[in-house]
């Protein structure tokens, strides 16, 4: 049976290397509206996210996406399985299971309709083997940077996953 230490070694070898570069389709107003509804239901979505005339009079000067919006939903993407969650997935046994332990997003330029977002991820840290309630585990910290078509920074997300 494969040992989780092999998975940890594979992950450690990937530290600092880019993986999973993705480029979104142009963001459309319907996707923004869908997000605004889905995250606030049953309260109505904020007008800033669907009413252009209203949004023009706000400091945003037009419709923007809510912070937290995912521009990659329904993206046709052949590389979805790349990245740290894929390492070890072809095996059975320790290290082939993972959970999202959380993360922190920092926001910069807002996302506007028509924007094309490029996402680039890398592994920044891999813990030593630890023993958790789920057995032998490895914690992996990734950093994903989003930029728009003007090369402006949009969001930096540091996520923590646990492999066990």
């Amino acid at each position: 049976m494969p040992d989780i230490s092999e998975v940890a070694q594979e992950l450690q070898a990937q530290i600092g290397k880019e993986y999973g570069r993705r480029v979104s389709l142009p963001v459309d107003k319907s996707s923004i509206r869908l997000w605004a509804i889905g995250t606030r239901w049953p309260e109505p979505p904020k007008r800033l996210y669907w009413d252009e005339e209203y949004a023009k009079k706000t400091p945003s000067q037009g419709i923007i996406a809510p912070p937290g919006f995912n521009p990659f939903a329904y993206h046709v993407d052949e590389e979805r399985m790349q990245g740290p969650s894929s390492y070890g997935l072809l095996r059975t046994g320790e290290g082939n299971r993972g959970i999202n332990a959380g993360g922190e997003a920092t926001y910069h330029a807002p996302i506007r309709p028509g924007d094309v977002i490029t996402s680039v991820s890398k592994i920044v840290e891999v813990s030593n083997l630890k023993t958790t309630r789920l057995g032998h585990s490895v914690f992996v910290i990734t950093e994903t940077r989003w930029t728009n078509q003007k090369d402006e920074l949009v969001r930096v997300y540091r996520g923590m996953g646990m492999r066990y």
Binding site: W35, G38, T39, W41, P67, A101, G102
Partner: protein, 144 residues
């Protein structure tokens, strides 16, 4: 949803901000799944949730993360903005849970001319259990 603009000068360390509260279940999870393309059976179907070892279907961590964005966004208002949102997932979101997203100011500071507030944030269920403790930073308007 607060309507009055909150100014940086009116904020004090230790103050609590208005909570964002949702009772969640399949309706909320399915609507969020549609927005985030997060269609996993254990978020939609109790049989599938039980097969995974959960009490039933469970809610998405990403939805609690989105609720925390709403908490801060509602407080900062359209004159402010959300700069940082983070949390750790410590517990499950079960069906019919009432989730209360809360925030408490821990620090006020000025950086690069922007007036910022850092908060402890989290998502408590109706039993008082903290399921997603974290940190937020918002930019607020200043009276100058």
């Amino acid at each position: 949803m607060p309507n009055e603009t909150v100014y940086w000068e009116d904020v004090t360390e230790g103050m609590e901000i208005p909570p964002f509260v949702r009772k969640t279940g399949l309706m909320e999870w399915n609507r969020f799944a549609a927005a985030n393309e997060e269609h996993f059976e254990y978020h939609m179907d109790h049989v599938a949730g039980k097969a995974m070892g959960f009490p039933n279907a469970i809610g998405m961590g990403n939805l609690r993360f989105a609720y925390l964005h709403n908490l801060l966004e509602d407080w900062a208002g359209e004159q402010g903005r959300v700069e940082v949102v983070g949390c750790q997932y410590r517990g499950m979101n079960e069906e019919h849970d009432t989730l209360t997203c809360w925030g408490q100011v821990v620090r006020k500071f000025v950086e690069n001319g922007e007036h910022l507030v850092e908060l402890h944030i989290g998502v408590r269920n109706q039993k008082g259990e903290e399921t997603a403790p974290g940190r937020g930073v918002v930019v607020l308007p200043s009276r100058g």
